[in-house]
């Protein structure tokens, strides 16, 4: 040591808690793995292809557009977006649409806003909402029946359809009618609760199994990478509002358990509403944000022309998050002391 001054001059604090952005993203990916595996078990090659193409589209877009001296792929956020985006799509969606939505989600939803940390809206949902607007028929109709017999043998005809060409009628005919929410809304038919909980239904690639999604969500909460208040407030308000509506008119409005376990609610509540970038900062803000999204979900499901409203509800929640942050600033020390 003699004669040589210390080399490393670093401002305080000199120690760090040890957490990092890649570690957070890694935990989200771990939480998503069982959901992905179940999706592939349920829908076979179609789910595998959808997830793969969605993820690759997001990673490539990030790589090409996000110009940074360091690779922005290293933070893991594009991987998380890719997986979540894939899980929100109908399993038989044409792969070119899957890829296009991924490019839009990362390119417009994230990179244009400044990359990681800059996006106002959840990029996965930006991709999905673009597809919903551009290809409404495919996004609301290309469902697969769960556990199809040849799901590991061949891809559905719609999946391999060429860009901008309508798939052949036969391919579309092979698809199943509708999801549990669609059944309820348009046919008044209720899906058995056990099928909903375990996910043995038609639906978006990764939204069907309420239990696995909740398990992944609880894992993220335990690893402290998701704020538990958001799903708590969101699911709580959906439960309360659904109970109220169901009590008023049981014929028209489904019961609480159906409301909680159907559609994209669990996927959205645990994995998308909790996206820290687009959600409020403070604990009080998290409660309010979750509450707003939950009420919007019930409102859209019950009174709009669409069976499902989780996507729009979360995007609207993202839009009000900065305002919530402004209203609900933390109270600084000494603020209540009456002097200044």
């Amino acid at each position: 040591m003699t004669g040589r001054a210390p080399i490393d001059i670093h401002p305080a604090p000199h120690v760090h808690g040890g957490d990092s952005v890649p570690r957070i993203m890694l935990h989200v990916v771990i939480a998503l793995l069982p959901v992905c595996a179940f999706a592939i078990y349920l829908f076979g090659l179609a789910a595998l292809a959808t997830l793969t193409v969605a993820t690759i589209a997001c990673l490539l877009t990030e790589r090409v557009f996000a110009r940074d001296e360091h690779s922005t792929l290293g933070d893991g956020s594009a991987l998380v977006t890719g997986l979540i985006y894939g899980l929100t799509l109908p399993p038989a969606l044409p792969l070119w649409m899957v890829a296009l939505g991924g490019v839009v989600g990362i390119g417009i939803g994230k990179v244009l806003f400044g990359g990681l940390g800059g996006n106002a809206f959840n990029p996965a949902l930006v991709g999905r909402v673009f597809l919903q607007a551009a290809f409404p028929a495919a996004m609301t109709g290309y469902w697969l029946a769960p556990l199809g017999s040849d799901r590991f043998v061949s891809l559905p005809g719609t999946t391999t359809a060429l860009p901008l060409l309508a798939p052949e009628g036969a391919a579309v005919d092979a698809l199943t009618s509708a999801t549990p929410l669609g059944d309820w809304k348009f046919a008044g038919a209720e899906t058995p609760l056990l099928d909903l909980a375990f996910g043995m239904t038609a639906g978006s690639t990764g939204e069907t199994s309420a239990l696995l999604l909740m398990l992944g969500g609880l894992y993220m909460v335990a690893m402290r990478v998701a704020d538990w208040r958001i799903p708590a407030a969101l699911l709580g308000s959906v439960a309360l509002a659904s109970a109220a509506l169901h009590g008023l008119d049981p014929e028209r409005h489904p019961d609480v358990m159906f409301a909680l376990c159907s559609g994209g609610l669990m996927l959205g509540a645990w994995f998308m509403a909790t996206d820290p970038v687009a959600s409020p900062l403070t604990p009080a803000g998290a409660w309010l944000y979750g509450l707003c999204i939950g009420l919007l979900v019930v409102l859209i499901r019950a009174f709009s022309g669409q069976p499902e409203g989780v996507m729009y509800a979360i995007l609207l929640g993202n839009a009000i998050a900065p305002h919530i942050d402004r209203w609900l600033q933390p109270t600084p020390y000494g603020a209540g002391s009456g002097q200044s």
């Binding site: 490393d8 401002p11 305080a12 000199h14 952005v21 600084p332």
Partner: protein
């Protein structure tokens, strides 16, 4: 035993105190040349009281106080004044100081000055004696203690808080002082209590140091009525504002002083020094310093003469060849050092040396992901996330006017928890400096 923290926010970093907490205070040898700055405290520098070539006794005045917000500087050793010139200090600023060469053969006995008798001295005389002894806050701020004790008109001390909550990781200075100098601590408390006519005196420690508090209480006659509060070990419990909050359930108003809520906080090492020096009328010549960290071989608690160059201190305790970083104070708020040729001054309670193993893993910052962990960790209820965002956009005025930047005391909790490794504290310090410069240009009063 799990107990609720006395404040919201804060963090629980590894304390690393085990390595030195059982080490008794050891006397340090004199370096061949001591560098004694005439400004080791907040306020104006002392005026030189010696000339080059003078020979001084240990404890003799080297510098006299210049005005009310200043303290004298005493000779840490009997020796010869080699030079009076600029010298480097830890803050990076060169200040005037005395280069003192101790006499090798001297007994280094300290002659007594004018004793201040606890029983007969008036409160004003005690405060004067504290000023004459060159006492400043030994916890790190180095604010002249007598200035704190001269209360504003109409203010009364309801509670005198003796701060033994040594919350910075690694440091065990206050802990050892309480254990080994408990009689000094008690005597210091009696001086202070008399000086400010405090209603009550309480010694506050963190749970890990409860034995030290016991030692002080055992040394105190029960009729003194000195209270002890053992608070949970939770960083930054030792911060004045949070201590007051825990003990009085009151919050110091923004821009105000503890005395506004009837509290006065004095660091326990300062109290011990008052109790040790005043009966003999002596001044500060040395202080207890924890030297530790993975880069140090013989880690421990040392009584080191003021003015000892850090390089000499590190050579004395031995360092790891992979030594990579040295900072003063603990790892949360400690000041990094660019040079080892700076002296130990009154405000330095410890220094920590890291090796390459601790410093190489630092990560480049990622963008802020708004996770809100900094908001939860801030013990003052500020919004470090928003403050950091504004800092990166140069909106320093907004940081102060709308987001209470002045309240931040740079404890480092926000940066500690940040998963994006953003140097938030550094950004806040830069913003504060920018505001100070702007204020001095426009002549604004910073305190408003």
């Amino acid at each position: 035993m799990w107990r609720r923290a006395a404040f919201t926010g804060g963090i629980d970093p590894q304390t690393h105190k085990e390595r030195t907490r059982r080490e008794p205070i050891r006397q340090f040898p004199f370096a061949p040349l001591l560098l004694v700055p005439l400004k080791q405290h907040a306020g104006s520098a002392a005026l030189p009281a010696v000339r080059e070539g003078d020979e001084v006794e240990r404890g003799e005045l080297l510098g006299r106080a210049d005005g009310d917000l200043s303290v004298p500087v005493h000779a840490p050793a009997a020796g010869r004044v080699e030079r009076i010139a600029l010298m480097p200090t830890v803050s990076g600023v060169m200040v005037e100081g005395v280069y003192l060469a101790p006499f090798p053969g001297s007994t280094q006995e300290v002659p007594s000055g004018k004793p201040c008798d606890l029983d007969t001295a008036t409160p004003a005389a005690i405060i004067d004696a504290i000023a004459d002894a060159g006492i400043v806050g030994l916890g790190g701020a180095a604010f002249p203690t007598h200035a704190k004790l001269r209360l504003p008109e109409g203010k009364r001390v309801r509670l005198l808080i003796v701060n033994g909550a040594e919350c910075e990781p690694y440091l065990t200075t206050d802990y050892r002082v309480m254990l080994e100098q408990s009689a000094d601590v008690v005597r210091g408390m009696r001086y202070l209590r008399k000086a400010v006519a405090a209603d009550d005196v309480v010694l506050a420690v963190e749970a890990w140091a409860s034995e030290a508090a016991d030692a002080v209480i055992t040394a105190a006659p029960p009729e003194l009525g000195i209270g002890v509060r053992v608070l949970p070990t939770h960083y930054p419990q030792g911060a004045e504002k949070l201590l007051i909050n825990a003990l009085l359930s009151a919050e110091v108003p923004p821009g105000g002083l503890p005395i506004d809520v009837g509290a006065l906080c004095v660091n326990v090492a300062t109290v011990a020094e008052i109790g040790r020096l005043l009966p003999f009328g002596r001044g500060i010549q040395e202080r207890v310093v924890t030297i530790t960290g993975p880069g140090v071989i013989d880690a421990g608690n040392y009584r080191i003469p003021i003015g000892t160059p850090l390089r000499f201190a590190l050579e004395h305790v031995g360092t790891d060849p992979a030594l990579s970083s040295v900072f003063l104070g603990g790892p949360m708020m400690g000041q990094p050092l660019a040079s080892l040729d700076v002296p130990i001054t009154k405000g330095i309670s410890g220094f920590v040396a890291f090796t390459l193993a601790e410093t190489k893993g630092r990560q480049r910052p990622w963008p802020c992901i708004h996770c809100g962990r900094c908001v939860t960790a801030c013990p003052l209820g500020l919004n470090p996330c928003q403050l950091g965002l504004l800092a990166r956009h140069g909106e320093v005025e907004l940081m102060r006017s709308d987001f209470h930047l002045d309240q931040c005391f740079e404890c480092g909790c926000c940066a500690y928890v940040c998963p994006s490794h953003i140097p938030l504290v550094q950004e806040f310090r830069a913003a504060k400096a920018q505001l100070r410069r702007a204020d001095s240009r426009t002549g604004n009063d910073v305190a408003t």
